[in-house]
Subunit: 148 residues, 2 copies
């Protein structure tokens, strides 16, 4: 990424309450979508919650960081799919996300690419800027498959 020292980036978004416990999330030209309190906290089903967005940001950061290292290391992967699970717990006297588990399934063409993919997903976790910014423990359990 060249000389990154001293670089600063700003990410902006807006949220506007609509009704009950729902609001519209927007950010520039990106497609807006509804967010709401989740059902378990007296909210609404089938709408993205703050909790979902938090866990999704970690899942997505591992993926985009992996893309970066895959390109830099000339790793060809055939597919990448990743399941994430965030554990919200009442610890002390407050709720916190204690752990986020990420299970990336990466398909590659041969065993040397499999080794490389396994190494690079580890590097991606260490260098994910969202992992760096949170207190939750992030566990990555990669599954690497080779197609014939």
């Amino acid at each position: 990424m060249g000389d990154v020292k001293g670089r600063t980036y700003v990410y902006k978004n807006s949220l506007e309450w609509e009704e009950e416990r729902k609001g519209l999330l927007s950010s520039g030209e990106k497609p807006g979508f509804m967010v709401a309190t989740p059902p378990e906290f007296k909210g609404h089903p089938n709408i993205w919650s703050p909790e979902d967005l938090f866990v999704a940001s970690v899942n997505a950061c591992i993926m985009t960081t992996f893309f970066h290292y895959a390109e830099r290391n000339k790793l060809q992967f055939l597919s990448y799919k990743s399941n994430a699970e965030g554990i919200l717990q009442f610890v002390g006297n407050k709720f916190i996300f204690s752990e986020i588990k990420i299970v990336p399934l990466i398909v590659v063409g041969d065993s040397s690419d499999a080794d490389k993919a396994r190494e690079l997903i580890g590097v991606s976790e260490k260098n994910c800027l969202i992992s760096n910014s949170i207190k939750s423990r992030v566990s990555i359990i990669p599954e690497i498959k080779i197609t014939g």
Copy 2:
């Protein structure tokens, strides 16, 4: 919320690479949407990035936590709109979100509700479960307006 001690909740989502540096984010019956590396890291414009989702999760958590305290304290508010800004900085030898600034604009009907809204937005920040889970400094700069 009754007796919350010992409670645990799990939030799940899936991400599937589509092409270039883009993937489709999904979670149960919620409407899926694309996420991608942002343009400043060799990605794509006008698509939600992991960085955006992270900042949005904080903005949304402050809003939903405010809903909770407003109901509990019988505060009637007429509108709620909130702008968020996340500052990503290269610190030491890595990028981290050093600060997230949230500017909620809350409209209420009279000055006693204005005082209550100002107090409850502070309480919401202290009790937002995403704030509790991140290292970034979260600053709330509320603007409370009274309609005649």
